[in-house]
């Protein structure tokens, strides 16, 4: 396939034994990294080396390795998911780096995402925000109305889909100087706001989800837009504007 080279790199990786321990950056040299490897395959190689040397491998979250589960959360050279745009860490390839590079790898940093170990953080706050209202209250019965009973304008359906592609990775929070979760919350609020099925519970949804986000310790939104730039799925700031409109309308009518 493409020209495959081997490069030698230096890694500075955040190591932290557990939630209470104090962490620090450790330095590792890694030779012979194929430029066709993904970033996580490079991390596998590092771990293999650490295991063979009798050390302890770096703990990190990952699963799908194709940019859709939202597990992999590495802060690489000061950017969530590293240098490439519209990319998750697992989709980043080593051809983005050069022989001799030093690469910094850290976990997401936010009060609401405490570190569990090394690069692994606790993102359960995101689940609790969804539990506060990220659903339509419909039971499974087998006699719901026919799926084509309510036509939905294509533009709205497409916009709802775009908002719904959020993978819950938390890069938006990691990128934000206030550690705000606005883009994440707005993506869900928007998806339902754009669909007829979401209307009935729209007001409670936005109020409850925003309240929960505050309770979890995520900061306020100051419209800097860093989240949009770092979001691997290109969730747009328009969603935050839509959420703010929904929020205002809901607050006024309550």
């Amino acid at each position: 396939m493409s020209a495959d080279k081997a490069i030698n790199i230096t890694l500075k990786v955040w190591r932290q034994k557990n939630a209470d321990a104090k962490g620090a950056l450790e330095t590792y040299k890694l030779d012979g990294v194929s430029t066709s490897s993904s970033f996580l395959e490079m991390m596998d190689q590092l771990n293999e080396q650490l295991i063979n040397e009798g050390g302890s491998p770096v703990q990190f979250d990952h699963d799908c390795r194709e940019g859709i589960c939202g597990s992999c959360n590495m802060y690489i050279n000061g950017q969530p998911h590293g240098p490439a745009s519209l990319n998750t860490t697992c989709q980043l390839h080593m051809r983005s780096f050069k022989d001799g590079d030093t690469i910094y790898v850290e976990p997401w940093r936010a009060k609401a995402f405490p570190v569990i170990k090394d690069l692994v953080v606790d993102r359960s706050a995101f689940d609790r925000i969804q539990q506060a209202g990220g659903f339509v209250s419909v039971n499974t019965s087998g006699n719901t109305q026919d799926a084509n009973a309510i036509p939905i304008e294509k533009d709205n359906a497409d916009m709802a889909f775009d908002a719904a592609t959020c993978i819950g990775c938390g890069a938006c929070v990691a990128a934000c100087k206030n550690a705000s979760a606005s883009l994440f919350v707005a993506a869900k609020v928007s998806q339902y706001a754009l669909l007829p099925q979401g209307q009935v519970e729209a007001k409670d949804r936005v109020l409850n989800m925003v309240k929960q986000a505050q309770k979890e310790g995520f900061g306020p939104c100051s419209n800097t837009g860093a989240c949009e730039v770092e979001c691997p799925k290109g969730i747009s700031l328009e969603n935050i504007a839509r959420m703010n409109r929904e929020y205002l309308a809901a607050s006024l009518s309550k």
């Binding site: 396939m1 493409s2 495959d4 990294v33 194929s34 066709s36 490897s37 993904s38 395959e41 490079m42 190689q45 293999e48 295991i51 063979n52 050390g55 491998p57 703990q59 699963d63 799908c64 390795r65 194709e66 859709i68 589960c69 939202g70 597990s71 990319n87 989709q91 390839h93 051809r95 569990i116 606790d122 993102r123 359960s124 995101f126 689940d127 969804q130 539990q131 506060a132 990220g134 659903f135 419909v138 499974t140 087998g142 719901t144 109305q145 799926a147 084509n148 036509p151 304008e153 294509k154 359906a157 497409d158 889909f161 719904a164 592609t165 993978i167 998806q191 339902y192 669909l195 099925q197």
Partner: protein, 668 residues
């Protein structure tokens, strides 16, 4: 024990309705006193958890990821089938049933498949009501596309992220019940054993993956929705954590394991790049709607392409072999997966592969003619007169980008080649497992009170699954089948009361789990878990992969047993058991794969025929097509564990075809 599939009496179209009318129900007040454990929160487990909680049961759900939203189902790309007949192209419940049985090469159970087809339409209604944003046309109605092995358009989709949208729908339904306290969610927990009390499944032992604590959880019934075991091959399109552990531990406790050798090798995946490769990436089957598959006609061209001295786009039309269109004129590029995969292997084995890796394996998937065709259509629609070739290409590319943009981006990202300009290079990869835990019509395993749903069971796809039918099955099981059939069993438990966890059965199960963990940690050998996993993968791929023969299978069985011995002598698992420890998690999973692999090869050896994804070289027609042997092998092979995979006992469930005539599959 003889196998009773519990298929209800009566004509096929009435079986499910009659059955639902006749099974026992649990009244709502009593459901509050009944606990159900669901292991896995992908489409199958997520939908089951939400529905059981809505019905009133207390649900405890488990997943190994940090959130149910990250289950492997999230990665499904192409779509979900349903017999809605919105396109008016002649689709019906019967046709979906027929296509699925035929696609599965006549090795699935008619009654189950019919029920699946029957409830398929409800799934789409339910998902739309939840706010799942399926693709729509300009009239605002739901859009459809076609998948392999069928002649109608019945696949619903959300761009290339259908699994994501469906899973987030099930996740939202779960969240509603978690907020109500009806589901207790245990994230970052791995089930390591089933607990059987007085012959019934009454709980599980799970490891808290953050603290390492070994926990006891009890319930009146246990549902396994833990996904497929494709990772026994090390390289597959499955998520890194996908495993057989939950299913295998259940097998060791008495659940029969059915048709382990029925594995789907998906024809269109990005080829292997090198030794560091950790997983393979699928390029959705939907691409075969528009992509044409070919290799060069001349070996010297193939070699020049591999060396990089000849560009594929410079190979003349007459020097290309569109081998699927040549061999299967009526289905062409849309033949089922097993057929397409074997045809690719056949060309590469003959020396026409186009990828420069160790095995020279790869074929082209080309969009050039689709780009031109769509470009011309667009020019007509937009009224562009005498468009230039460049204009046509530009417009055509836009149409393609709209349909498959995210897949093209993904491909470019991995390979650094631009599929709008040069054909994709693809090769088959392990993708899905049709085999799994044996279940009866009620989705109950051979252990009373233990159920299996989704990819974890063996039920509906026979020897080959059609595209877009796994999502359908997972949601059918979880939303519409299990929540009702389980009531029939639980009706006996309304007065049982909570199941205590201080019994002997729990003590023993917990001790076994702890001992196993300690044994991994104490080996302190010289090789990593991945070393063994990769070795196992090589044996599986080379000898139990796309084509199999007696000698290779016998060798594989021996080699896997040897590798297993070596694993227990020489694996190195760093760290301890009472902390987060990914290597320890992997060790447990690989240990189970090392046992499953052997049973898998035995099953393949025992099945002396070719059917669906199982191809035995000894059994093929003169044209190289799969040769089924219906007289002897029209059965489900259900294996009983007796202490060692090599001593497993084979039980046969005969398959009776009353509504569909057994025929040789033909896609010519």
């Amino acid at each position: 024990m003889s196998l009773d599939s519990k298929i209800p009496e009566g004509p096929i179209a009435d079986k499910w309705t009659n059955h639902k009318n006749n099974i026992r129900l649990v009244n709502p007040a009593n459901k509050r006193n009944i606990d159900v454990i669901v292991v896995g929160t992908g489409l199958a487990g997520g939908s089951a958890s939400a529905t059981l909680a809505e019905l009133g049961y207390n649900v405890k759900a488990f997943c190994y990821q940090d959130s149910p939203r990250r289950a492997h189902s999230i990665a499904a790309q192409g779509g979900i089938n349903a017999a809605k007949n919105y396109q008016g192209d002649g689709d019906s419940t019967y046709r979906l049933f027929y296509d699925t049985v035929k696609g599965g090469d006549y090795r699935s159970r008619e009654a189950n498949v019919y029920r699946l087809a029957e409830v398929s339409a409800n799934i789409i209604d339910q998902c739309v009501a939840q706010g799942v944003p399926f693709a729509r046309d300009y009239g605002g109605l739901l859009d459809n596309r076609s998948f392999g092995g069928v002649l109608v358009s019945r696949t619903f989709y959300a761009k290339g992220q259908t699994g994501q949208q469906l899973l987030l729908g099930a996740y939202s339904a779960m969240n509603r019940q978690i907020a109500k306290g009806k589901i207790q969610m245990y994230n970052r927990h791995e089930m390591l054993d089933v607990v059987i009390v007085d012959g019934k499944a009454r709980g599980i032992i799970a490891r808290n993956l953050v603290t390492g604590e070994i926990e006891r959880h009890s319930a009146h019934a246990v549902v396994l929705a833990s996904g497929g075991y494709g990772n026994v091959f090390f390289l597959s399109t499955n998520a890194m954590g996908s495993n057989v552990t939950a299913a295998w531990k259940a097998h060791k406790k008495g659940a029969y394991f059915a048709n382990p050798c029925f594995t789907q090798i998906h024809p269109t995946c990005v080829p292997v790049h090198g030794a560091q490769q950790s997983k393979l990436t699928l390029m959705s089957e939907s691409l075969r709607n528009d992509g044409r598959i070919w290799v060069p006609k001349k070996k010297e061209d193939a070699e020049a392409v591999r060396k990089g001295t000849l560009k594929p786009t410079d190979i003349k039309e007459e020097d290309r072999d569109y081998y699927l269109e040549r061999r299967y004129p009526s289905f062409g590029n849309l033949v089922p997966r097993d057929v397409a995969s074997r045809a690719a292997k056949e060309r590469c084995d003959a020396g026409y592969g186009v990828v420069d890796n160790d095995t020279k394996e790869g074929v082209f998937l080309d969009f050039a003619s689709a780009i031109t065709r769509y470009g011309k259509e667009e020019a007509n629609v937009k009224g562009v007169e005498n468009p230039t070739d460049a204009q046509i290409k530009e417009m055509g590319k836009k149409v393609i980008a709209n349909k498959y943009g995210n897949l093209f981006d993904m491909y470019k990202n991995i390979t650094a080649e631009d599929p709008y300009e040069t054909p994709m290079r693809i090769y088959p990869a392990v993708h899905y497992t049709m085999g799994g835990i044996w279940v009866d019509y009620n989705l109950m395993t051979t252990v009373p009170g233990l159920y299996a749903t989704g990819e974890a069971n063996f039920s509906d796809h026979g020897a080959n699954r059609l595209g877009a039918s796994a999502l359908m099955q997972g949601l059918a099981d979880g939303y519409f089948v299990l929540p009702y059939t389980i009531g029939d069993y639980l009706a006996d438990d309304i007065r049982t009361g909570p199941i205590p966890t201080d019994s002997k059965a729990f003590d023993e199960a917990e001790k076994k789990v702890k001992d196993e963990i300690n044994s991994f940690l104490n080996i302190k050998g010289s090789k990593s878990v991945d070393y063994f996993h990769k070795k196992l993968g090589q044996i599986m791929w080379n000898k139990v992969g796309m084509s199999r023969n007696e000698q290779g299978l016998k060798e594989a069985i021996k080699e896997i047993a040897e590798l297993r011995d070596q694993f227990y002598k020489d694996v190195r698992v760093p760290g301890s058991g009472d902390e987060m420890n990914a290597e320890l998690e992997k060790a447990g999973r690989v240990a189970d794969f090392l046992e499953l692999g052997e049973l898998f090869a035995r099953d393949a050896l025992e099945r002396e025929e070719s059917c669906g994804g199982h191809f035995r070289e000894e059994y093929q027609t003169e044209e190289g097509e799969a040769l089924r042997r219906d007289d002897e092998f029209t059965y489900v092979a259900a294996w009983e564990y007796t202490g060692n995979p090599s001593e497993a006992i084979l039980h046969k469930e005969e398959l009776n075809y009353e509504n569909i005539e057994l025929k040789t599959r033909s896609y010519k």
